[in-house]
Amino acid sequence: MTSANPAIIFQNVCKKFENSRTNAVDHVDVTIQEGEFITILGSSGCGKTTLLKMVNRLYEPDEGKILLFGEDISTVDAVKVRRRIGYVIQQVGLFPHMTIGENVAVVPKLLKWKKEKIDARVKELLTLVGLEPEEYENRYPSQLSGGQQQRVGLARALAIDPKIMLLDEPFGAIDAINRLNLQDELLRIHGGLGKTFLFVTHDIHEAFKMGDRVIIMNEGEICQFDTPRHIAAHPANDFVEMLIRSAREQEQIFFDACQ
């Protein structure tokens, strides 16, 4: 699965916010290969979203650099960087004044694609995320359920075929059953496209299920970056061990309940 081609490299990246004494992201050095599905796991305030937002330059690092396919993004116009990257957030952020079709077509339209090409792409993407184009294309976001909206959010992010996808707790506000469905479909989509996914979550089950490799963060630092199997077998420090123990204890509840 992993080719030798690094998609994202963080080199000694630090980010500090005003009015804060400590670094939100503290000396992060990570290399992500093309085609990998990486999950970033940590509790709220650990810096995982900050790390993600530096990749599409919504935040700028104070120190260090970020390379996308070997290119230092601080030397590229921010808008250009973002147009190479798909971006999905928890609140979805569909534009309420545009139909589902128009939402998916936003960026292709900005890039002045031909109308036929845009129409075909919208239909293709809605089908890919499991929404019947004829039925949904002309509806407005407010007429869709949360899960359906996030499917559209995903389709919009995939519109111009970015090589890298950033997902910031995309399923955080979705009920458990729908979330499982969406997780499976996201894995299916990832498998078929060969894109690099960076997926932030605070749910350890989600992180271990989705990630080829998992980044575990605490207080701005990376505690461990490895495959789920390795992390479970060899937790790097107390924090990781505690995380895994808490997940096991949760499972124990169901186990006990079934006895």
């Binding site: 147009r83 952020g93 534009f95």
Partner: protein
């Protein structure tokens, strides 16, 4: 009374229609001018935090002065006629448009702007494709408020010779003729209601997605 009214329309149809036309023109032009001033000023106020207090404060103070007083105060500067009348109406109409523009723009949620930037819109595209469209319902409400105020206050414009339906009312007051008062008053009311209705239809056409939310 009915006879008097009929007689008025038989003899004065032309001047009545002229008054209606004048009234509509003064109102429409003032409203357009108020939009041209109010909306960019509202945007500027949200853009430059320090400017907001000054801009909104300035127009709020102007608004406190009664329209009639503004009209009279403007006579020594601009004389009589349509110009001072429109100036007074514009001053009256700018604050609701400006305030609603400010509120509308500020109410656009941050995550919406962040997604817009995140998917690769330039700042200008964020403004025109996301910020303004989402603030539009609020701006429209401001425009509607302003318009109703303008149409009602344009009646006063007749006082300084700008014409309009106010002429009828002031003549009616002077001659103690209830029929003229009623014709003038009801016409202004009908005009105001029609305009409000038209704006509603227009906003419904522009903001179709609002219907979907219901």
């Amino acid at each position: 009374m009915l006879q008097l009214t009929m007689a008025y329309f038989q003899n004065n149809m032309e001047s009545f229609l002229l008054a209606v036309r004048q009234h509509m023109w003064i109102s429409l032009l003032s409203l357009l001018a108020a939009c041209v001033i109010g909306i960019p000023c509202g945007y500027a106020a949200t853009r430059y935090a320090r400017g907001e207090k000054w801009i909104t404060g300035f127009f709020q103070i102007l608004r406190i002065i009664p329209s009639l007083a503004v009209l009279i105060l403007l006579i020594p500067i601009m004389g009589t006629g349509i110009k001072p009348a429109m100036t007074a109406l514009v001053l009256l109409a700018v604050p609701p448009i400006l305030m609603n523009t400010v509120v509308g723009l500020k109410e656009v949620p941050d995550f919406m702007l962040e997604t817009a930037r995140g998917i690769g819109m330039t700042e200008r595209q964020v403004l025109w494709k996301v910020k303004f469209p989402l603030a539009l319902p609020m701006i429209f409400t401001g425009v509607k408020t302003a318009m109703v105020e303008i149409i009602a206050s344009a009646t006063l414009a007749a006082k300084i010779g700008a014409g309009g339906l106010g002429g009828l009312i002031f003549t009616g007051l002077g001659l103690n003729r209830t029929d003229l008062l009623l014709i003038g008053g009801i016409s202004v009311a009908v005009l105001s209601l029609t305009a409000a209705l038209l704006l509603d239809v227009l906003s419904g056409l522009i903001m179709r997605y609002k219907k979907a939310e219901k």
